[in-house]
Every structure is written in C-alpha cells, then in structure tokens.
C-alpha cells in the first residue's frame, strides 16, 4: 500500500494541475438557470477542450484517442478536477460506461470508429437497457432484433434513457433469440440515433426536467458490424457495462460532491440558526462532519476499488457498494443542506430569494432518483448478497 504518487503520476498531476489552472472555466455556476440544452452545450465545449488538451480518456488506449495511462491516473484526474472546481464532462455515459464496454468487447473497427468521438464529445451516447416490463429484471427485455441479411431489424421500446434527447448513438440490448433462456438470447447493438424509425420522447421527471426519455424503435435497421461481442451473448457485455456503472462511474461524482460540500460549509457560516451562524450550532456541526466523513470515505472506497481493478483488469460485483454508497450519501447530504438552509432550501430557480439559483431545492429532488437509477439499492443489495457473499439467490 502506497498512496504516494510515483514520479510519473506526479508529473502527470503537475501537468494536469497547470493545464486546469489555465483552462478550466470559472463561470459554470452562472449557467445554473440556462436551459438544459444550453448547459449541455457548455459541458460539451468543455469536454472538447479537455480532449484537445489530451485529458479525456486517461486510461483509454492511445490508439483510440486516449492517454494510455493507468486507472490510478484516472483517479488522480478526478481528484484534480475536483480541486480545480472544474465542471463535469458532457458525454457522461459514453465516457463512463459505453467506451469501457467497447474497449472490452468491441471489434478493432468499432474501437477506431467510436472511441475518439466519445472522448471529443463529438458523438453523445445514451443507453437502451430498461424497458417498461424489464427494469430490475433487465434480462426479461423484449425489444426485438431480427436478422435480415446483413442487418438487424429492431422493434420495441426502451425507457429511462438519460441523454436520449442529446444522443447521437445508443448502446442497445435486444432479444435476438426468444427460444432460449432469458439471459442467453440477448445481443448488444450500437445504434445510430439518426436511423429511420428511431423516435425519442421526453419523460418529465419530478424535478420538472426532461433528462430522461423513452425511445421507440420501428423497423430500425442496424448493420451486423455494429454487434458488440457475440450474437446472443450480449448479456455478458451488458453486465460489463453495469459493473462499470456501479463500480467506477461514481469516481466522477467526487467533483460534484466535494464542490457541494465546500459550498455548504461556506453557507453554514452565513445562515443563521438560533441567533448564531449554523456552523456554530452543535447539531448542524455533527451533521456536516458526518457528511464530510462519508464523502471522504466514498473517495477512499473508490481508490481501493480502482487499485483492485488496476490489478485484476475488471470491476467485480463488490462495486455495488460504491453505487449504494454514493446514492444514499447524496440523499443524506441534500437533507443536511435543507436543514442548514431552512426555509430557503425550498426556493426554486427563478425566485429572487433563492440561494445558488435554486440549486439546493433541485438537488434535494434530483437525488431522490439516485437510489433508483443505475440499478436500485435493492438490486445492488441482492448483488452483494448473492454474488459477493454467496447467499442463495432470492428471486
């Protein structure tokens, strides 16, 4: 165990730190009340800038536009992004989930074709996994892929597709053989969202936004060269994606959590409670310290997990603890923020008295989704129970 940076890592960190100092935009918070589309364009430009500077895809192979560095440098990257208070990147799913899946399961041609444009945010990605009748029970999916010459013809519906409205491409799982056990007849396809027959409909969330979508596929033709991995063996590629989603995806959230924590500490010195700053109230102090501790532990858990992945090559089912940890922590944190802000916590974007342009009322509502998206807390606990602890399967 050695958390000191190696000479190479140190060099990497110093270079990145200098680059971020010169290049990280300072005005992200001012975009808080802009439209979702405008905010997305902002992050897309920022990702493009990172890519051009050579800072996107730290651990991805050089041949596909990455930096060819280790996962540990990826960890350092997130730490430095947090330290510089830099905005997150736009192509969240492409970077965190779909790129790693293509790297692990894709063909050489797919890697060359897709990876560089994920990194540059030239092509935005969404995932087509869940369906109305296949949520936690994902393998029950029914969206159909029928072989027709050198194309699959896709028919069906997907739901809860984050970034569907912005996406150029979709990582889609379809049923290609209905005659075998449900995990066996599934194939993963990369689908051009501009294909004829793709229809994206917005889903309005409890926050009022339409981050999510439903996607309908009507006779959408997908060339066979867009199959990821083997036909009818898409389940293992899908699980690969989900392992990343659970295990490594949370690392990028660190930027957001640390920003929020710092900001809340600052606000706690300003907000009054019982005639003194909230930061001097013993109960508030306890709660803030607990959040601070948990955010640090999230980081330590992630560093440990990344070290393990660095040694073994793939994230394992124990990554489910990361998903449970970040999602439940985020909800606890937002509740503490509400307590610190008191009546101000409920004010939404557009109100003259709102603090941070309504970011805290939004945060409180948005984090409610955290324990549902990317696999519910219940499913994560099933995974730990069965795949990590070896308890009998419960379903």
């Amino acid at each position: 165990m050695d958390l000191n940076l190696t000479t190479d890592e140190l060099k990497f960190r110093d270079e990145l730190r200098a680059w971020l100092k010169a290049n990280a935009p300072k005005d992200w918070d001012e975009f808080r009340e802009e439209s979702m589309e405008k905010r997305f364009e902002y992050l897309r430009r920022w990702q493009r800038k990172l890519f051009e500077g050579g800072w996107a895809g730290i651990s991805w192979p050089k041949a596909y536009g990455g930096r060819g560095a280790s996962l540990m440098e990826q960890v350092i990257f997130w730490q430095e992004m947090a330290r510089a208070d830099a905005p997150p990147m736009a192509n969240v799913l492409g970077l965190g989930l779909i790129g790693p899946t293509i790297i692990a399961f894709g063909t050489e041609a797919q890697k060359k074709r897709f990876l560089p444009k994920i990194l540059s945010a030239e092509e935005i990605w969404c995932q087509g996994f869940s369906e109305p009748d296949a949520g936690s029970d994902l393998a029950n999916l029914r969206c159909e892929g029928r072989l027709d010459g050198d194309h699959y013809v896709v028919n069906g519906q997907k739901v809860w597709n984050s970034y569907g409205w912005a996406a150029d491409w979709c990582e889609l799982v379809v049923r290609t053989d209905p005659s075998v056990a449900k995990h066996k007849g599934i194939t993963m396809l990369l689908v051009d969202m501009k294909s004829k027959g793709v229809e994206v409909r917005p889903l309005r969330q409890m926050t009022g936004e339409t981050e999510f979508n439903e996607i309908f596929f009507h006779d959408v033709r997908v060339p066979v060269e867009n199959v990821v991995g083997k036909v009818n063996e898409g389940w293992s590629a899908a699980i690969g994606t989900l392992m990343h989603e659970r295990g490594t995806f949370g690392a990028g959230l660190q930027i957001i959590y640390q920003r929020n924590m710092n900001r809340l500490i600052e606000l706690s010195h300003r907000m009054q409670r019982n005639g003194r700053p909230a930061a001097e109230d013993p109960v508030v102090r306890q709660k803030l310290a607990q959040c601070y501790a948990e955010i640090e532990i999230m980081r330590m858990n992630q560093m440990r997990a990344f070290s393990r992945i660095n040694a073994t090559g793939v994230p394992g089912p124990e990554g489910s603890i990361q998903k449970i940890f970040w999602s439940e922590l985020n909800q606890r944190f937002q509740q503490v923020a509400q307590e610190v802000l008191g009546p101000y916590g409920q004010l939404e974007s557009g109100d003259d008295h709102a603090i941070d342009k309504g970011a805290w009322s939004y945060g409180y509502l948005r984090t409610r989704g955290n324990t549902i998206e990317a696999g519910t807390s219940e499913v994560q606990r099933n995974i730990i129970g069965h795949f990590v602890l070896g308890l009998p399967k419960s379903y």
């Binding site: 165990m1 050695d2 958390l3 000191n4 940076l5 190696t6 890592e9 300072k26 918070d29 540990m72 960890v75 330290r83 208070d85 920003r259 710092n262 900001r263 500490i265 600052e266 706690s268 010195h269 930061a279 013993p282 102090r285 306890q286 803030l288 310290a289 607990q290 601070y292 501790a293 948990e294 640090e296 532990i297 330590m300 858990n301 560093m303 440990r304 990344f306 070290s307 393990r308 660095n310 124990e318 489910s320 603890i321 449970i324 940890f325 603090i355 219940e378 994560q380 606990r381 099933n382 730990i384 129970g385 069965h386 990590v388 602890l389 070896g390 308890l391 009998p392 399967k393 419960s394």
Partner: protein, 370 residues
Amino acid sequence: MQFGLSESQQILKDNARKFFANECPITEVRRLMETDTAYDATLWRKMAEQGFTGIIFPEEYGGLGLGVVELALLMEEAGFALLPGPFFSTVAMAGSLIESCGTDEQKKKYLAPICNGEARSTVALLEASASWDPAEAQITETSGKLTGTKLFVPDAAGADSILVVARDGIFVAEARAPGITIQPMSSMDLTRKLYSVQFSNTPAEKLGNASALPQARQIATVALVAEMVGGMQRTLDITVQYAKTRKQFGNPIGMFQAVQHQCADMYLETESSRSAAYYAAWALQEKSSDAASAVSIAKIYSSDACRTVGNRGIQIHGGMGFTWENDLHLYYRRAKASETMFGDASYHRERLARLVIDAGTAVSQSAKSA
C-alpha cells in the same frame, strides 16, 4: 499510487490470521476472559517470538521497524480473533507513547522490554471527568511523585509499568511502585479488562517530550479502528455462514431479501470502515497533512459501523444470537467498548468539525461565492 496491500503486507496479514486461529481460537478467548487479567504468558511469548510486540518500534530497541499500516493489519487480525489481554494496551497505546515521547534512555528502559516480550504496559488517561482531552487531566506530580486517581485504565493489573497522562506531562510509574492501588472495574468487554488506578505519592519518571502525545494517540486510535474492522469482519463471516445454513420455511434464511440486505449492509459497513482505517494508517505513517482528519473520519465511521454490524449480526441469528453460548455477544461487547474508547462518533465529528468547518477557510477557498 496503490491502495492495496503489498505482497509482504498481505503475507503479514495472512500469517497473523493463521497464528491467532491456531494459538487463540475462540475457546481460548472464552477461557481467558474468565480469568482476572485475560493474560496468558505462553501466548504472549509466542506473540513476541513472531515480533508482534515490537512491530512498529525501531530495530535498535528490538522492534521490527514496520509502519503504521502493518500495525493496523496486525490489529485487524487480532480483532478478528478477539485477542484478549494486554496486546493493544502494551503495544498500540503504551509502546507508541514511549516511542513518541521518551528519551533514548527511557526507550531502552521501557520500550525494549516490550519489544522482546518481557514487559507489559498501559496508559492511564481518563479520570472521573471521563474527558478524552489530556489538558483536563487533574492528576499532578510533585517532586517526582504522582497523586490522584485514573479510571478506565485497560489491562492495568498485568502491567509492569503504567504511563500516566498528568497535568504537567506524561509520566511512567512502575506498577509495583509504592502508593499504587489497582482495582478492577467490572465492564462490558470481558476480554479487555479495565481498572481504576490510584496513585498516592507514587514515584514516577517524566517522559522527555509530551508534545508528541497527539501523534501517539492517533496511532493508538487507528490501531483500535483496525481492530474494530477485524471484529466486524468476523461478525459478518459468522452471520453469513449462519444465514446459509439456518433454515426456516424450508429455505436457508439467507435467501430472504430482508436477511440478505442486512448482510449486504454489514459488508458495506465493514469494507468502508476498512478503507477508512487503512487510509488513516497510511496518512499517519506518511505524516500526511490530512492525517488528523483521516483518523477522526475512520473513528467516526467505524464507531457507528461496529455497533450496527453487531446489531444486524445478532438480529439475523434470532434467539440464538441472544444466547451466552453464541460468540457474537463477545464481539458486540468489544465493539461497544471500542466505540467509546478515544472518543465515540459524536466526539470525533466535533473534532472533525473543528478541523474542516472552523478552519474551513482552506476548504471553502475552493468553493465559489454565489
């Protein structure tokens, strides 16, 4: 950067696991907890032969010269085995205090016998006020003699020397020196005995450098947290094993999600405590700038986690978990004592608040104003 054990660290941990499983199985724990001091001379000698008693101390005093991370790994395994007796008080508390605060002469006199297994020692910190703040110590020294009473002193009856945190410094007294009265305090953890120690004009020697007390305390706190992690791991293992074999409604109870999810939470709490413990051990070893907050973070999280892991483990065992015969309550008792020791979660949350909220200028500089 590598947040995993090195090969030699893994070997040390594996060997310690085997050693304690062989030399101190739970039957032996139960035998020793019924004795006055929970100390066994043969076990102690074997531990000294392994180098355990000198693990973090310099080789010039007969130690192994390893780091705080190695101490944490050893303590984790001691906690897994529920090792009874004065190992924690002698090595993690007293040994590290002598090493931090003693002169070369004092280290030869008090640390070397600890390293070679000849001596046991402990630290007397708390008094009637039960304050963990050394500045609140009332016990005083007058012309080389101590007078006053210390409470909650672990393993005092078997100790050869007792280190005393007093108003005007840290002192070391021979346990058999005149004026010392040691009385057992009947307490929850049967494997780590507590005592009241009364000093009445007891001759004592002042340690060289009291300013190093916080460092020694932090090492002891991290060692304790690591020990708690081991206890949590054992509680988890026992519980998962039980959930796989105990049948109700025709199925192993571990098949039911209400049980399975409790086990998953035990796993999450144990692993997160472990991450925090290892990180804090490393930060202390490297004297990293966030070492003080890392130690509090580890104690905050594991203090709550060791209690909830115990609660869940006993709950899953049902009526069996509530029996004397089941081993879980032994871990549960230790967990409660450890939760309190060196300050519980609330105590460390306030400590962390002082470090990161009050001194929050450095933290909040990076945050933007509205």
